[in-house]
């Protein structure tokens, strides 16, 4: 009996499951809000940049699993993911180096107080928040691009540069004498 319900289109086409898609549509915006909450409240409560970034990637992976690659690449394409990843590392290292340039240690947020015009404890809080935003961006984008690289073939990116096939591979095979 199980063979009778396994039809041809289940094996060949993109498999769409109504329950998975409907539940994912309700869940995903709230998962994303939760991820951003974990990032933004990392200096008050458990969590932080890495955890929030991973939850954010999980929401994107859920879109990928439920709706296919096109739906997720329409939101963040490969190039934008790499740019976000670099931007995240830039924010993290930039804040650290700024503290270094102002005469403190690396990531010594107290040195930021004169620039931001706030008290030293407040500057520490803001500095940690900035670093966590950077870490969150970098983790999200890096894990997202890893998922895309594991799962997808570049030829299916509809709005993306596709990696050109090398000339010699498409050339007709010469008959061997």
């Amino acid at each position: 009996m199980i063979y009778s319900i396994l039809r041809e289109d289940m094996l060949t086409k993109v498999y769409e499951n109504l329950i998975v898609q409907t539940v994912c549509r309700i869940m995903i915006p709230f998962i994303q809000i939760y991820a951003l909450y974990v990032i933004a409240h990392g200096h008050y409560s458990p969590g932080g940049g890495f955890q929030g970034g991973v939850i954010l990637t999980a929401s994107l992976a859920l879109i990928f699993l439920a709706f296919g690659q096109g739906a997720v690449i329409r939101r963040i394409n490969r190039r934008f993911a790499i740019i976000l990843c670099a931007l995240g590392v830039f924010i993290y290292a930039g804040i650290g180096l700024l503290c270094l340039l102002l005469g403190g240690n690396f990531l010594d947020y107290a040195q930021l107080a004169p620039i931001l015009g706030v008290t030293i404890p407040r500057a520490r809080s803001l500095g940690i928040l900035g670093v966590e935003v950077g870490v969150g961006l970098a983790v999200m984008a890096a894990m997202y691009s890893i998922i895309l690289d594991i799962a997808g073939s570049p030829a299916t990116d509809n709005d993306q540069e596709s990696i050109p096939v090398p000339k010699d591979r498409t050339a007709p095979v010469e008959p061997v004498a």
Binding site: I5, T22, C24, I28, P29, F80
Partner: protein
């Protein structure tokens, strides 16, 4: 970032619901944290508004939330009953299980949300699992013929249809 343009009210509705969720999570209600919340909710509603949908009934149904709430209590009762039945089956030394996949053709349900609700209700009830939905056909794995038979009576489907239609 090629996203389909949607009506502005839909973005606003998504923003409202996500922001309520944010305030529920956050617990810090100073200007700084609320501002971060507004920025995050704006970003999420820009990216994910096309995913979040709001169920529109074909008729005006003002008490749909209340009816859904009452249905969950009925479902909870069914889950407890089926739990006891499954426990009796699997704990008896004879292990009288006879698993099968049955096709249930639904009669009343139309649209994605009622079908997904019904499919999830079948899965939540022990002994039966919805494997797939194709059009009106529900492919359900049942542990014994008795579970399949109680599914075929269609009581649960009528309850779900009573909420939505």
């Amino acid at each position: 970032m090629l996203l389909k343009k949607l009506p502005f009210t839909r973005y606003l509705t998504t923003f409202f619901y996500t922001f309520v969720f944010w305030l529920f999570l956050s617990g810090h209600y100073d200007i700084f944290h609320v501002t971060i919340g507004i920025l995050c909710c704006a970003g999420v509603s820009y990216v994910s508004t096309d995913l979040l949908f709001f169920y529109k009934a074909d008729k005006k149904r003002p008490f749909i939330v209340v009816e859904f709430f009452l249905y969950t209590f009925w479902l909870l009762f069914q889950i407890i009953i089926a739990n006891l039945q499954v426990a009796r089956l699997v704990l008896s030394p004879k292990l009288k299980i006879d698993p099968r996949i049955v096709v249930y053709k639904c009669r009343y349900l139309k649209g994605d949300v009622p079908k997904a609700t019904y499919g999830n209700s079948i899965t939540l009830t022990p002994g039966t699992v919805t494997l797939d939905i194709h059009g009106r056909d529900f492919y359900v794995h049942a542990l014994t013929p008795a579970f399949a038979k109680s599914l075929k009576t269609g009581t649960m489907e009528r309850k779900v249809a009573h909420i939505y239609h």
